[in-house]
């Protein structure tokens, strides 16, 4: 006779959730196996030990990446909202300006934007503060994307709802406080967090202007330790450590907040 645990285990394994979990487990295993294979092929004795001496530098790099990403996020949100207002303005000149700017940004690689800002536009304003102009480049680059996020979030509140608000006699403050903003935030959050992830990844390009963010500090540490394989793996892993929790959180919010 079977032990009672056997059929229930079998049942558990054939349940849908268990099958999905198993699928994820084996898929992750495949990818890890590939990376291990590459690492083993490229190095004899894999070790992060040489980087221990540089841990302060690396922590500072991670900190800088987070810092400039947050600054860029807030900056591009403010500018993106301003762009949204200008694009919905009645003044045609502003509409055209935002339209053209958006088109230019869509056609520009982020690295080109950073170089142009730091080495061309910055000096034109008699400034050699490359870091400032580098971050400004990130902000400007993300603003049209932020503008779109605001546009779709704000248009998600239907005309009919505005009619209903008027009908019931809500005043302007109450409309925004209880009805419009709570809905907009729900729609806004997932794409906003996606953009934050884009910013974190894009900030790696600031190493071109020697800003001491994550990519840059790992490069420095690699040139001292000669542990290139470990350095690349460390760099990659640290970026994923920042972005994957963010995207998981985004998915969770999408699920919980969808209207």
């Amino acid at each position: 006779m079977n032990k009672p645990t056997v059929p229930s285990l079998k049942k558990a394994l054939t349940s849908n959730t268990a099958r999905i979990l198993a699928a994820y487990f084996f898929a992750a295993l495949t990818i890890i196996a590939f990376i291990v294979w590459v690492v083993v092929k490229q190095t004899d004795n894999f070790s992060f030990a040489p980087f221990i001496d540089y841990q302060n530098l690396i922590v500072r790099g991670v900190g800088n990446t987070i810092l400039i990403s947050l600054i860029s996020l807030i900056g591009s949100m403010v500018l993106g909202f301003l762009f949204y207002l200008l694009q919905s303005s009645k003044i045609k000149y502003f509409n055209a300006l935002i339209d053209i700017f958006t088109e230019i940004i869509y056609g520009t690689p982020m690295i080109v934007m950073i170089i142009v800002m730091a080495f061309l536009i910055g000096p034109a304003f008699n400034s050699l503060n490359r870091n400032f102009f580098g971050v400004l480049a990130l902000i400007l680059y993300m603003s049209p994307y932020m503008k779109n996020v605001f546009k779709s979030a704000i248009s998600s509140v239907s005309e009919e709802q505005y009619l209903a608000m008027d009908l019931f006699g809500f005043n302007a403050y109450q409309k925004y406080r209880y009805i419009i903003i709570p809905q907009i935030i729900r729609v806004l959050m997932p794409p906003l967090m996606n953009n934050f992830s884009l910013i974190i990844k894009g900030s790696a390009l600031l190493n071109f202007i020697s800003y001491a963010e994550l990519y840059y500090v790992i490069n420095v540490a690699q040139s001292k330790t000669f542990a290139f394989v470990e350095g690349y793996i460390l760099m990659w892993g640290l970026y994923l450590l920042l972005t994957i929790p963010l995207s998981q959180l985004t998915k969770m919010i999408e699920r919980k907040w969808a209207l």
Binding site: S158, L163, A164, D166, F168, G169, F170, Q183, L259
Partner: protein
């Protein structure tokens, strides 16, 4: 109710209503019928004060519909429920009572619960609109319209987005409201509902009140257009 339409013209991109005049007294439940684009939805929006006519004025019981005094006592049920999607069925009602009708939390809760129960939604009232059926959402919208204790309730094709079974469910709920002593103005395509519920019928055609009268006009239409309409809807 006493209904006076004084020379109203209304246009969106095209002119929908043109210099419309009409007076009616002493009916409690008025149906607006007509084909799509005949101006009936526009007319109900103007009568409810939801929209202002481009020209002219509407008076109901001698009060202009633009008057706040009138608007505070108007219930409106939209084609699609138009509940606030981020709020539960109950919160859709209590928010309005607390913020615009100066009710306490407790009073608002009691009133909301009372009307949601009246529309058989006691099990659904903490759910978001997206988590209930279309018929339940529309019934919640009716409860919301009732909760502000309106004198007149306007229903703009309340069942147009529902299948026949849900339509029946919603219209039965509306018929049960007859005993509440409210007055009704409604647009609908469901003629059996007009027969059961209306005491006056207004037939709209190409932006005009083409024919009107008690429900007898449905069986004995005078104009070709209403005859044609009755033939097509049957």
């Amino acid at each position: 109710m006493k209904l006076e339409i004084k020379n109203i013209t209304h246009q969106y991109d095209v002119e929908v209503l043109h210099q419309l005049n009409f007076t009616l007294t002493n009916y409690k439940s008025i149906a607006l019928i007509g084909v799509s684009g005949s101006g009936k939805s526009t007319l109900i929006r103007l009568l409810s004060g939801l929209e202002k006519p481009s020209e002219g004025s509407v008076l109901i019981n001698d009060v202009p519909v633009s008057d706040k005094l009138y608007r505070d006592h108007v219930g409106f049920v939209f084609q699609s429920h138009n509940l606030f999607p981020h709020l539960s069925l109950k919160r859709n009602i209590t928010l309005i009572l607390e913020k615009t009708r100066d009710k306490s939390k407790q009073e608002a809760n009691d009133i909301a619960t009372k009307y949601l129960k009246l529309l058989h939604l006691e099990d659904q009232m903490d759910k978001l609109p997206k988590n209930v059926s279309g018929g339940q959402a529309q019934r919640a919208a009716i409860a919301r319209a009732l909760s502000i204790d309106p004198k007149i309730i306007f229903l703009d094709e309340p069942t147009s987005s529902l299948d026949p079974i849900l339509t029946h469910e919603v219209l039965t709920a509306v018929q049960d409201l007859k005993s509440l002593g409210k007055e009704f103005v409604f647009v609908t395509h469901v003629l059996s509902f007009v027969r059961d519920f209306a005491d006056y019928v207004i037939f709209m055609h190409e932006g005009n009140i083409h024919e009107h009268g008690t429900i007898d006009i449905l069986d004995h239409p005078k104009t070709i257009e209403l005859k044609e309409f009755m033939r097509k809807v049957h």
